[in-house]
Symmetry: D2
Subunit: 308 residues, 4 copies
Amino acid sequence: MTTRIAFLGPRGSFAEAALRTLPISETSELVAAASVQAALDAARDGSVDCALVPIENSVEGAVSITLDELANGEPLVIIDEAVLAVSFSLVVRPGTSLSDVTRIATHPHAAAQVRGWVSANLPDAVMLPALSTAAAAQGLLDPACGYDAAVSQHIVTELYDVVSIADGIEDTADAITRFVLVQRPGAIPAPTGADKTTLSLFIRSDQPGALLAILTEFAVRGVNLTRIESRPTRKQLGDYYFSVDIEGHVNDSRVSEALMGLHRVCLDVRYMGSYPRHDGKAPVLREGVTDGDFAEAQQWLRQLKGEI
Amino acid sequence: MTTRIAFLGPRGSFAEAALRTLPISETSELVAAASVQAALDAARDGSVDCALVPIENSVEGAVSITLDELANGEPLVIIDEAVLAVSFSLVVRPGTSLSDVTRIATHPHAAAQVRGWVSANLPDAVMLPALSTAAAAQGLLDPACGYDAAVSQHIVTELYDVVSIADGIEDTADAITRFVLVQRPGAIPAPTGADKTTLSLFIRSDQPGALLAILTEFAVRGVNLTRIESRPTRKQLGDYYFSVDIEGHVNDSRVSEALMGLHRVCLDVRYMGSYPRHDGKAPVLREGVTDGDFAEAQQWLRQLKGEI
Amino acid sequence: MTTRIAFLGPRGSFAEAALRTLPISETSELVAAASVQAALDAARDGSVDCALVPIENSVEGAVSITLDELANGEPLVIIDEAVLAVSFSLVVRPGTSLSDVTRIATHPHAAAQVRGWVSANLPDAVMLPALSTAAAAQGLLDPACGYDAAVSQHIVTELYDVVSIADGIEDTADAITRFVLVQRPGAIPAPTGADKTTLSLFIRSDQPGALLAILTEFAVRGVNLTRIESRPTRKQLGDYYFSVDIEGHVNDSRVSEALMGLHRVCLDVRYMGSYPRHDGKAPVLREGVTDGDFAEAQQWLRQLKGEI
Amino acid sequence: MTTRIAFLGPRGSFAEAALRTLPISETSELVAAASVQAALDAARDGSVDCALVPIENSVEGAVSITLDELANGEPLVIIDEAVLAVSFSLVVRPGTSLSDVTRIATHPHAAAQVRGWVSANLPDAVMLPALSTAAAAQGLLDPACGYDAAVSQHIVTELYDVVSIADGIEDTADAITRFVLVQRPGAIPAPTGADKTTLSLFIRSDQPGALLAILTEFAVRGVNLTRIESRPTRKQLGDYYFSVDIEGHVNDSRVSEALMGLHRVCLDVRYMGSYPRHDGKAPVLREGVTDGDFAEAQQWLRQLKGEI
């Protein structure tokens, strides 16, 4: 049976472009969802097998709806990630030239990211809000849409009868968006040696040293963090949680032991998946924290306890 | 001369509502700015004395543009904060009743926060994107706007000829937005005993234990954190910084010593202001970290060194 | 077969008095050894089953020969401890009165601990060195011994034909000596809920943060220390080790995990035994570190990994 | 006026040999004291200017009487240290050869350290206790002393009419004793760049994490420890203190700040002196903790506070 994957639509969205960088997309049926919530709900209710949603943007920061839904909603786990350089094009109906453009539609986030280019090249153009960059491009198909250009990703030129008249118009050259592929809890992807694990760590509001305690649980086992954010919980006013990404797989001994330690000191720990890093970069481990080191230490302990 | 304060507009925005909770607003000229960037730039170039912009939303998370501009742009410091409960109303032209509503305009963020109420009460309504919630309300003044209701904050009913037909329609009851009042570096507000300090801490990308080191600098001096986020820097790919709020004022001894310690271990520390907490909540200090304790320790040291 | 226990002799020594506080002494053959070294060697070569030697004195501090032999010599493990209040008597041949005493023999350590009493009561007496307090008492049996009193423990009056003419003559009232009962590695005493474990932790000389790392391994698992000393190793110049006592038994989960962690970060860890505390005082554990907490965390981890 | 220095006698003792390695001894009057206590008391009551006493022996460990007197007694501070390799000679009256030796006198500690050599070379010799090694050598001057050889340090051959017939007879080649020169609190020796500071840190008995807290105070300021020992206090049963040596001088910024931090978290901190290291080894400092780094951080803080 074909795997069905929901993505944050519409067709031609950054999410679709990101999804197409994952091999699984080639043999799957891709389903556009109207929102992050809709994509996640589809994965939860089984109408799709998994969902690809944005989790972090180097310009806009964390995608709160994704973080909070994964932390607080019905459990889903991350099984893969994809990273996409964010790049915008100015797309128009065939035949429109730059000097014809007076009204531009796009999503407000995208508008913020091309402000410099637009000021310099189309200082008199009016910006109009659209629900998404792809929707803005699609809207051009209707001559009565009320605008003559859209800021969108280049991929829309393959989907709709529009053309790009300027590429790479984003103000920040190296902006990237990170997406995660999630599914209902089940089989965990096998370790690759270059994995990440995402966790939500819930803390009591009255614990000033809680974050230090959490980081010490990681540090003692040689586990490095790659992202951390404090977030208010939805459960009780004043409580908060930390959303963290760490290097390593839940099957790695150092990660396993750290997770159990966190489970003992936190109000709650939600495991949100172990998955291969998009860049394949293996962690640099300090001495004494490989699986071999953990196994050797256990052997030593069992010997001195007379168990072997 | 009257103080001029820019706020994230348009008139009737949440930012204006937040600004009006600060006493300084009563004697100042309030200037709507088109964007966070525009508000901050106005403070920088002196066209206003200070600017009020959102920094954090309990539903949407950090406002990245604000964090990053304050961390990386030309220096501005926070001198006050305001917190506003986020609450939405459904506003219409006078005479429109709930059963008349078929098309609703609002900002996409607001749309996300009232999704539940709309599904339950207006399941067939179409949602249209607007540049801001206030702009959506203002748009109603034009009968040809193409929609018959706007999701906006209640304050717009005082500004425009619109009325609310449903208040408190947000799905999450306790959502709040935190705003900060910033100005060019200068006099620091006097300590009140219930202050916060905001910092950006820049780290080298190759320091796995950096966060633990940072937290230890705070913990050793009994300084509590109230917010932390890791953010990519704009300076070099792979580098990141931590945006943190701590309890206390830069003039507090424990904060002073922690700041100097951070200055010694971080690539860079940007001080972003000490200001009174909006809730007036004094920190709970552990033993040995009051200004008196620091002074007494210094006296003791000077005595044993024979200086006094 | 009767258990044979060597103790630091001679008969009537503090070590014998301490040994007699342990129930095992009642059914064992007690063998006086000439020195700590001799007692330990007897346990090593099998000529006795175990040996009782002093390890710590509240006035004199650690007994280095014991610590170093247990840390560096052929392995022996501690299976029990005994604590004895140090108290001295002035013993004489029957018929001698205080005013007759002009020359007093004792071990130099004992002489140091009764200096105040002797100065006050026998200001003109000459102190003579003896190999041990018990030997000094025994020497009195020979009228040609050259002295007329000995500072010794009261028990010698039961062994030899001597009497005490002053008890409790020590200057420091609450001095105690701690003794340990050691045997070749084998079965570990069952946990009692109020146990101690003794370890030697070997460190590379060039590790400035090593002690902090070691303490963190303990702290993360909620293991408390009751004694710590840095000691030079005999293995290589400049290297040192830490001799530590911790609360808990090697079979306790928190101790097991801490030991494995130490094994991974130290040059070497020598386990020197888990044994019941002489005072039966159970440790006060922080939240999350009981065996139940460890088991529950492991269960949780196995569930999320899909193993159960 | 000539400086008077007491040392742990008698003449020819290791303490005298150690004292003679310090330049100050050349122009001072050296006074033999009968005990550590007597030497310290002489410094306290002004009958001498300073006193040299042993504090640590690589075989015997800490000299408890010295540690405890300095920690608990009337204050004295260390102004210098000397280290002496412990080496023993077999000394006899002129004309005595090795084969003539049947009875050997020495201090019991020395006897323990030459046991191997004596067993191998004089297996039938009887060991007799003496109050000190120097006293044993001096005793040989009396032909009726009852023994024909003494284990002592070689220096006695310059003081008395005795000769050495075997040098370097100690079992452990690299044993050393460390001595400290103490005086009443007053001027602190100037920093040399290679200094040590000795402290006694008093802790409440009910603080399980106290040692970790103490070490963190040091670590945060980049201060390295070279020695640590837990010791029972004499003040209250169950309380204890840590005797520590650290790298650096009280005038070094990192040490000053650490001392003030410790003063705030400990029950009591006793400063026991900053003095040049006997080996002249400068500390290896991590980045950010030189006096220059501290001064620069203070300058930075003052600037951002608008003080300069």
